[in-house]
């Protein structure tokens, strides 16, 4: 069974600063994918960033980047130059190749607060 753990129920950061959200996972699969999803108050689930486990290079999308440590089974999200619009719930999720029909396994989420 796969598990995803987000140990920070809530994080707070000043606008324009950098914040890192933590995620650890456990799986016996060798080929898997990791995701960060954002859920603002509108409740829409928005894909922020994706990382393929077979890639050593950390994924980056504009102000969002990940620190993927495969051996440690860690997948943290760094948000640079935080903006008020970044305030949301952030979910770490995992899926595995060949198991795409099994859906994603989600962590419990981190509520990110942006202080103006």
């Amino acid at each position: 069974a796969q598990t995803v753990t987000q140990s920070q129920p809530e994080m707070s950061v000043q606008e324009a600063e950098t914040v890192t959200l933590s995620c650890t996972y456990d799986t016996s699969e060798s080929d898997y994918y990791l995701f960060w999803y954002k859920q603002p108050p509108s409740r829409q689930m928005i894909l922020v960033i994706r990382q393929e486990a077979y890639k050593q290079q950390n994924a980056t999308e504009n102000r969002f980047s990940v620190n993927f440590q495969k051996a440690a089974k860690s997948f943290s999200l760094k948000i640079s130059d935080s903006q008020l619009g970044d305030a949301a719930m952030y979910f770490c999720a995992m899926g595995y190749s060949g198991g795409g029909a099994d859906g994603l396994t989600f962590g419990k989420g981190t509520h990110l607060i942006i202080q103006p």
């Binding site: 409740r43 829409q44 719930m89 979910f91 795409g100 029909a101």
Partner: protein
């Protein structure tokens, strides 16, 4: 164009009733899913359909039944609603077995059972 749509967005009903939530995707994806998000925001897979075939069925009550009339639609029927069914239900689709398996979510349906 909305990629994954759900109707209704809000549903309030009484215990014991039967209700349906509709989902449509226009992405041409082969696999669709239903997730449940509980009051603590925890998201858990309920069902997935691949080419109109049920692939998995997590331990959900058999009062819940997915129905897929075609590849673009996956509806969720719920019989004999209970208080504990109150949650947000998300439909999603994925290009699985192609591509990198990220899922595209609908806007969610907030179900309130009174």
């Amino acid at each position: 164009d909305t990629a994954v749509s759900q109707t209704p967005k809000y549903l309030v009903t009484q215990m014991g009733n039967d209700k349906s939530i509709k989902c449509e995707q226009n992405l041409g994806h082969d696999t669709m899913y239903w997730y449940k998000q509980d009051s603590k925001k925890f998201l858990k897979i309920m069902f997935s359909y691949n080419n109109k075939e049920l692939i998995i069925n997590e331990t959900v009550p058999n009062r819940f039944s997915p129905k897929s009339p075609d590849k673009a639609h996956l509806n969720l029927h719920i019989n004999s609603l209970e208080l504990g069914d109150s949650a947000v239900y998300f439909c999603a689709s994925s290009p699985y077995p192609d591509s990198t398996y990220e899922q595209y979510f609908g806007p969610g349906t907030r179900l309130t059972v009174t």
